[in-house]
């Protein structure tokens, strides 16, 4: 059955009543546009995340580890594959157009993938901190998600990201229980990745954020960020690492007297810079991906030229 709505109020009533929107529904253009932009951003982030992690795979300190990180990165590329399909089916842009926009710097992806992994410990920091942040934010989308195809692929993505998060925990424990060199490497990586991971959740949500109103997101950014900080500050401290924030403290009176970790005021300029493709590694990351896409254009052209008509 195809749904249609007479106006946005009618549509909102449907959403508030637990309705799910499917691609063939006559969804409001505002909904189509916002949800498409969100899924495209997610797809781009999965792909660029894979490219961030790939840099250290050739140097993995073990054959089995190389297999594991390949499988993990393959998952991320696979998520991009699924998400581009869901986004393309919304009829706004084709997958090719989305990829071309990404490689031309015309579309966005998560702030954390504008940074370079400097050492192998950064690879672990990404697995531990970034995958956990991504998991929390994607799980919050999956919780209610009113766009049917997105919710269905998120079921698989969230399950796999949960596995990545556990993998990150296991890898971190090895470094934690390891040698001085390993612990120092991870502390340095934590110094580099803590703030970008916290910033990944974004600034406080607009109270009238349409993605919250339409139940694509189930929680505002600040709630997710707060929960993340409460979980990871004590964990990292218990492993003997120092959070790179001189003003970090536990406020006994916060959270209605339950107490909470409070950070310095978050500087959003680095996040804003990444949204303008001005992050520390944005230029290299995008230009390398674009160059590779151009170098392999002949393969796609050959397959198109030799395609058997359906």
């Amino acid at each position: 059955m195809t749904h249609s709505w007479t106006n946005l109020d009618d549509f909102q009533t449907y959403i508030d009543g637990g309705g799910i929107v499917e691609p063939n529904d006559r969804m409001p253009e505002e909904f189509r546009s916002e949800v498409f932009r969100f899924i495209e951003f997610h797809a781009n982030s999965e792909l660029m995340g894979g490219l961030t992690e790939r840099d250290w795979i050739p140097r993995a300190p073990g054959v089995r580890l190389k297999q594991i990180f390949l499988a993990k990165t393959q998952d991320e590329i696979g998520h991009a594959h699924l998400l581009y399909q869901v986004a393309a089916d919304m009829g706004v842009k084709s997958r090719t157009e989305m990829l071309e926009d990404l490689f031309e710097g015309r579309s966005r992806f998560h702030n954390v993938f504008h940074y370079k992994a400097v050492t192998w410990a950064d690879q672990i920091a990404i697995a531990y901190l970034v995958d956990a942040a991504a998991f929390a934010s994607q799980r919050a989308v999956f919780a209610e998600c009113t766009y049917g195809p997105y919710k269905r692929v998120l079921k698989r993505i969230v399950a796999e990201e949960g596995f990545h998060m556990r993998h990150g925990e296991e890898m971190l424990l090895r470094l934690t229980e390891g040698t001085d060199i390993q612990r120092t490497m991870f502390q340095e990586a934590l110094d580099r990745w803590w703030w970008p991971a916290v910033q990944l959740f974004g600034p406080d949500s607009d109270p009238d954020d349409p993605l919250l109103r339409w139940k694509i997101k189930s929680q505002p950014n600040e709630q997710l960020r707060h929960a993340y900080i409460q979980k990871y500050v004590p964990l990292l401290q218990s492993y003997g690492f120092t959070i790179p924030d001189p003003n970090l403290h536990f406020d006994e009176s916060a959270d209605d007297g339950k107490g909470a970790w409070v950070t310095s005021e978050i500087d959003w300029e680095p996040l804003i810079a990444t949204m303008r493709q001005g992050g520390p590694d944005s230029r290299r990351r995008i230009s390398n991906a674009a160059a590779n896409y151009a170098d392999t254009a002949w393969v796609r052209a050959a397959l198109e030229a030799t395609a058997v008509p359906a």
Binding site: L47, W56, I57, R64, W120, G178, T179, A301
Partner: protein
């Protein structure tokens, strides 16, 4: 780890190093495949090859020492072939190498199915199932792209570059004659090379690919065993990357 003769160890070392090198070279394409579906497929092949390498190393390297053995030997101590070591930085080269190597690999595993070494036959049977997909993937991909004139030219140029070292995959491991006599492997590299060369020549003809006739004829001419003791020029940078992290702290567990 099982008790193996020196000839058996030498035979398995050459194959394991080939699988390790090809798996690592294929792995370098993660995120860079020509389209997303191919990225996923080629990455799976890379993981399979690394899995084969691990299973082979596990037969003669003590438990807990495989990573240091695989990543930290001196270049002269590796026994991989030039075909597996090639960098192949463009997709046409990577595809041609994938086609030539995987068709040879399937034959190599088939000669181990009847091995008298404990567990090796079972491993070969399992690996052959993987290789059926790998070979099918490579052959279908080549067959499809050469239907396009521009792509055909690229593949022919890639063949001109890769074919001169293709038969290196059949360089006999040290002591191969003894390994055959002991029943480690049921066929020599020379006899497998003849089957492989006929197969490749038939495929080249079938696809109408223009290659230097001398290169095609020379596919079953085996390099001497000593060439497995020498690395190609592109190996040094690759070797440095293999050991970059693990050598930071030899006492560490990563």
């Amino acid at each position: 780890m099982i008790e193996l003769s020196e000839a058996a160890k030498a035979y398995l070392l050459a194959f394991a190093d080939d699988e390790h090198m090809i798996g690592s070279r294929h792995a370098n394409w993660i995120g860079l495949g020509p389209f997303l579906e191919e990225d996923l497929a080629f990455c799976s092949i890379a993981q399979d090859e690394l899995g084969h390498a691990l299973a082979l190393y596990d037969m003669f390297v003590p438990t807990g020492e495989i990573d240091r053995f695989a990543l930290l030997r001196e270049p002269a101590d590796y026994r991989s072939c030039a075909l597996a070591e090639l960098e192949c930085p463009t997709w046409d080269l990577a595809l041609v190498r994938h086609w030539l190597y995987d068709s040879a690999e399937a034959l190599r595993w088939s000669a181990l199915v009847g091995s008298e070494v404990d567990d090796l036959g079972a491993l070969a049977t399992q690996a052959l199932r993987d290789e059926a997909f790998h070979a099918q993937h490579a052959e279908m991909f080549v067959e499809r792209v050469v239907g396009d004139r521009a792509a055909r030219s690229r593949i022919e140029r890639a063949l001109a570059e890769v074919l001169p070292v293709a038969s290196s995959v059949w360089t006999p491991p040290d002591g191969e004659e003894t390994a055959v006599a002991e029943g480690v492997v049921t066929r020599s590299s020379a006899s497998l090379a003849m089957v492989w060369a006929d197969q490749i020549r038939t495929q080249l003809d079938g696809l109408g690919l223009a290659v230097d006739p001398q290169l095609a004829q020379g596919l079953d001419e085996l390099p001497p065993a000593s060439t497995r003791h020498h690395r190609i020029n592109q190996f040094d940078r690759f070797h440095t990357s293999l050991g970059e992290v693990i050598s930071l702290d030899p006492s560490a567990i990563w």
